[in-house]
Symmetry: none
Subunit: 430 residues, 2 copies
DNA sequence: AAACTAGGTCACCAGGTCAA
DNA sequence: TTGACCTGGTGACCTAGTTT
């Protein structure tokens, strides 16, 4: 179990849950407005209860509002909704950028108070607002605008016209990007001006709240098994616990970055998650390369209906989720989910959420790219790391399970305890 | 968007100073972003204080902006970061090209007003912009593009695959040049389009400013000489913190056993925690974005502390620094102390304690012996692990140190917090 | 007035070119 | 093959205009 593998689906922490809200597509009033957004509630999963506290997309706004309290935790949650935009492409890793970092220069944070952060329906990047009927980032907004202004006819897709569009690779296939824009509902006719009706805001808020509640009741049931369909394994719980901890390890370094891809890949290799990028190669001697190792195969995104939700904020998660949705849970096409998600992104990109989180822009750097002096790719390093330590992690998990009462705890708590106890290992015990 | 945030490192020049900011790779959350840039502040070390005055990389831009004031003296300084890209190869001296002379034919100077000039992360030449996630010159940009487009497999290096890549000799070994490109983080996934976020720019500026200030106080003690024996670093505290966390990581698995010995340290190294460490760094932060660097840091480029900085001169200087980094510090190249020293003490002793502690004999198994399928010894596995993740750990420590008040805590508490926060990385805030 | 967005602007880049 | 130059975008910011 490559933990790493993780799939990442999420884990969350109390204080810092991130919810990636995917819109269900259904309810939102607006045309294509599936809500996908990030909400930043107060520490506990409680969401802001009043509208006053909510502010959508502060991002994008360059207003000197600054000063805000960037620090509040963010929750990003995605409503269950799988995007069915076709794609079978390899599920790309996500990367994320730091929310804060991005956006308007003024403040880096997106929200001020209880802000909610939205994700671009097209590429998964942070949305700057509701553009052309859909929550979209500045990039996709501009791209769509240009596309419709001049009625551009992008050159045909070199692949199968089903390129997965993500922040990292959104510029690689205009044809598919535009197609995706239309698919998610962008249209000149869907434009909405002016302030968001209170009612609408409340509605969204309610959805999130109820969604959150449902999560508490039924903890994630993300299947970690590679086979997405993962049959109900008897102890999914266990697996999850293991996965969670694995993920946690990975997260330490990965945190929101997208880096994976970068380094990871050799150009060609890279895997690209996103793109199809066929060009692979390069592998050879540059050490990078091969990720495919079966070993890790972690798995992947399980099917889930559930919203995935991850902790860490990082956009990664959001992205992962985004990706998973996009891909439709492709079941892993031979790639590496685990890592993928992580990086790319971000934070290749902005990767890092935390990056600019604090008001002062202080953000803990969580570098997922291990140093490698022998030419190995980060991915390889992670794989090896995963392979080497998985047994030890399993032992710990097994041990935990043997503790009376441990298994009766909700999974979330189990994970929390495992993680919390990591560095207490030396502690003897009472 | 990975990049996005990225780096930005930009460069600006005010009066005509050129700052070469090497990123430490550290602080930036993002993947790799070691900032390497030149700053051209006004005559004195003062840097432009407002963004308005800033203009990044004017170079490359052919705009008729001309007229700049080429004459001002340039300062090139590199943030601490030692490049350890191995090499013993003949290190050809670099030479610089005249700033003015180079670049666009139009103007000879690179920047107009307060521009900042960046150096190519690959060869040290003047960068024309942020290409494929890294500040690179036109040559390396083109080389990398060609490399990934056609998946070229350059013929093997005739030396030891550790050719030092510099402007003068960059065309001598394609294999190593490409390897270097990858090492510094060039990737299609790290591409960043569009304008550099203001905030990023400002951040960079601030960092440079503070860096400059620090220089004024404590003039460089960076030894440019390759032999950097790292002067006794002033803050032992920092080192200790790093050591502690390193140890903690190790402890996770090792925990009480005596196993330590086994993997233990590399002979010499381990022991002294603090000691070796010269290279370390904790650099500064120049982290720009993610993208750059660090990520791949595979090779090496480590940060180092001393920035060299030259005045006047121009590119020459920059190059020297570049060379020093590249070449220098190699001696440390060999290993990475950071992690090694860690363990011994801690565990060793308590070693087995908990082992049978509980009444029922229940004891959490903490297997310090990593699974190894490729014949490596546990020790080797640990060493590699240590080597690979040390940079990431350092980054985290650096981050922690930057938190107001953190350093005023006793070391024990600092360590405790670092350890306790390990798995909270995801937690967004508070 | 406050909250929001379509569009415009222009700092910036991937890629293509082609002389050396 | 290289790398200085160009060209066609891309997207961070801004501003004018819309809706609460
Ligand atoms: Zn988008
Ligand atoms: Zn396509
Ligand atoms: Zn170069
Ligand atoms: Zn070579």
């Amino acid at each position: 179990m490559p933990w790493i593998d993780a799939s990442l689906k999420g884990s969350f922490e109390k204080g810092g849950v991130i919810l990636y809200v995917g819109s269900t597509g259904g309810s939102s009033p607006t045309p294509g407005s599936p809500p996908s957004g990030y909400l930043v509630p107060s520490p506990q999963h409680s969401l802001p209860s009043s509208l006053e506290e909510l502010t959508l997309t502060e991002i994008g706004a360059i207003k000197p509002q600054t000063a805000s309290s960037p620090s509040s935790p963010k929750v990003a949650f995605q409503f269950p909704e799988a995007v069915r935009y076709s794609n079978k492409g390899p599920s790309p890793p996500t990367q994320s950028r730091v929310p804060a970092a991005k956006q308007n220069g003024a403040t880096g944070t997106f929200t001020k108070t209880g802000g909610m952060v939205l994700l671009c329906k097209v590429c998964g990047d942070i949305a700057s607002g509701f553009h052309y009927g859909v929550h979209a980032c500045e990039g996709c907004k501009g791209f769509f605008r240009r596309s419709i202004q001049q009625n551009i006819n992008y050159k045909m897709c070199v692949k199968n016209e089903n390129c997965m569009i993500m922040r990292m690779n959104r510029n690689r296939c205009q044809h598919c990007r535009f197609k995706k824009c239309l698919a998610v509902g962008m249209s000149r006719d869907a434009v909405r001006f002016g302030r968001i009706p209170k009612r609408e805001k409340q509605r969204l808020l309610d959805e999130m709240q109820s969604y959150m509640n449902s999560l508490n009741e039924a903890p994630m049931e993300v299947s970690l098994s590679p086979e997405a369909d993962a049959p109900p394994s008897p102890n999914i719980q266990e697996e999850e616990a293991i996965n969670a901890i694995s993920r946690a390890y990975h997260d330490i370094f990965v945190s929101g970055q997208d880096r994976l891809c970068k380094h990871g890949g050799t150009p060609g290799v890279e895997a690209c998650p996103l793109s199809n990028y066929n060009d692979q190669q390069l592998n050879g001697s540059y050490g990078y390369g091969q990720y495919e190792s079966s070993s890790l195969r972690l798995s992947n995104y399980g099917p889930q209906e559930s919203p995935s939700y991850v902790e860490n904020s990082s956009r990664n998660f959001g992205n992962e989720i985004f990706q998973a949705q996009q891909a439709g849970y492709l079941h892993n096409a031979g790639r590496f989910p685990a890592f993928d998600y992580g990086y790319p992104e971000t934070n290749a990109q902005r990767g890092c959420t935390w990056r600019g989180t604090t008001s002062r822009g202080i953000a803990c750097p969580l570098n997922a790219i291990p140093y490698s002096s022998n030419g190995k790719s980060s991915q390889q390093v992670w794989e090896e790391f995963s392979q080497c330590f998985t047994p030890a992690v399993k032992e710990v998990v097994e041990f935990a399970k043997s503790i009376p009462g441990f298994q009766s705890l909700c999974q979330q708590d189990q994970v929390m305890l495992l993680k919390a106890g990591t560095f207490q290992s030396n502690v003897k015990v009472f």
